[in-house]
């Protein structure tokens, strides 16, 4: 049996992230993902999964599979993506993160943090400092993600701010990351060259903070179904599962479409 390719963007923010645009409502996210021919998206807000259930519900009658997730800030201010199969797992991680996330949000300084339903109706506002850092070390964050059967991916490793190389200089020995994410600003070729030292697979997602950015870069997975177990096999090259990063030309074309709006 020949496995299908799934086009994935596993790093998409919603309106809950204080730095993201308020137009990132659940149905709009799903519609834009479908418009970019994405088969799978990951919903990863900063230190919260409160909008994950709404996006999952919004995608019920679409061809887009939504993987619940979170972008956790470690105490070293390293961003780490957690990707799960079920909303409950993301909410369990959220319970841990909330115990270790000090501070309250100042909407004027950081932005509003609306919790919404699938129709983008505002249910309330998170008052936590989602833009802040947890007091969990990178090792603790990765262990917590793995204890919940999630994938742990270092976010935008090519960025100095909040990337693991910028914050910590290098990947600590024994840190069991599943993959490294490149931001849209670095081509897969350049990423592989800069970080050739590490025997970890590269992925590239959009880190979308507005609707137009969804799918601006993506990664293809040759897998049996859109699940973390299958993605894990692809990352390890097991059983015919594969990872393929969209070529730089495709990224440029996507960026062009994004600008054309």
């Amino acid at each position: 049996m020949i496995l299908p390719w799934f086009k994935a963007d596993l790093h998409v923010h919603t309106c809950l992230s204080p730095c993201a645009e308020l137009s990132l409502g659940p149905r709009a996210i799903v519609a834009h993902a479908a418009g970019r021919d994405l088969d799978v998206i990951g919903v990863c807000d900063h230190n919260s999964a409160e909008n994950v259930p709404a996006v999952v519900r919004a995608a019920r009658n679409s061809n887009v599979r939504v993987l619940p997730g979170m972008e956790v800030t470690s105490k070293e201010e390293v961003h780490l993506l957690a990707i799960f199969d079920r909303p409950e797992q993301a909410l369990q991680l959220q319970a841990i993160v909330y115990q270790h996330l000090p501070g309250g949000n100042d909407p004027e300084a950081f932005g509003l943090q609306p919790v919404v339903d699938e129709d983008h109706e505002v249910l309330g506002f998170s008052e936590r400092l989602l833009a802040g850092a947890t007091d969990l070390a990178v090792e603790e964050v990765v262990a917590d993600i793995h204890a919940l059967d999630g994938l742990a991916i270092a976010s935008h490793v090519d960025r100095e701010a909040f990337g693991i190389f910028g914050q910590l200089g290098f990947i600590p020995d024994g840190l069991e990351l599943d993959a490294l994410e490149l931001s849209p600003h670095t081509s897969p070729e350049e990423g592989r060259r800069r970080f050739a030292h590490y025997a970890l697979p590269f992925l590239q997602f959009s880190d979308a903070h507005c609707l137009e950015e969804i799918g601006r870069t993506s990664t293809y997975f040759r897998i049996g179904e859109a699940s973390t177990a299958e993605i894990r096999r692809a990352l390890r090259g097991q059983q015919g599962r594969r990872v393929w990063l969209a070529e730089a030309a495709a990224c440029a074309a996507a960026a062009e479409r994004c600008r054309a709006g």
């Binding site: 070293e76 201010e77 990178v138 190389f165 910028g166 914050q167 910590l168 200089g169 290098f170 600590p172």
Partner: protein, 114 residues
């Protein structure tokens, strides 16, 4: 000026020390991005930071820094202390925030490179 001199005059807590306390400080560097320290700190510098991850010891060793001073009363993670003892890197803790600590170090004659 040795590491021991700044410990005494600035009332720093010695989390790890050993023979490293008698090393000569030839300058200072302050940054919380370890990549930046790897790029710009110079051998002999005392390094002021709020990062406590054990990677700070690897960076201090790589760059031949004389000591790491943690600010705001931060304490080194347990495995950071273990690594510091192995590598003989003095790790000191200071209750002051970075700006105030660095100002006092400057008054003592410690300079950054310009």
């Amino acid at each position: 000026m040795t590491v021991r001199d700044i410990v005494e005059r600035l009332e720093l807590e010695t989390l790890t020390g050993g023979e490293g306390l008698d090393r000569e400080i030839t300058g200072g560097y302050a940054s919380d991005l370890l990549s930046d320290v790897m790029a710009h700190a110079e051998a002999g510098n005392v390094w002021v930071t709020l990062q406590t991850h054990r990677n700070i010891i690897a960076v201090a060793t790589l760059k031949e820094l004389t000591a790491v001073v943690l600010v705001n009363g931060r304490m080194a993670d347990p495995d950071t202390r273990t690594a510091a003892r192995q590598e003989q890197v003095p790790v000191l803790s200071c209750l002051l925030p970075a700006f105030e600590l660095i100002g006092r170090m400057y008054q003592m004659g410690i300079r950054g490179h310009t």
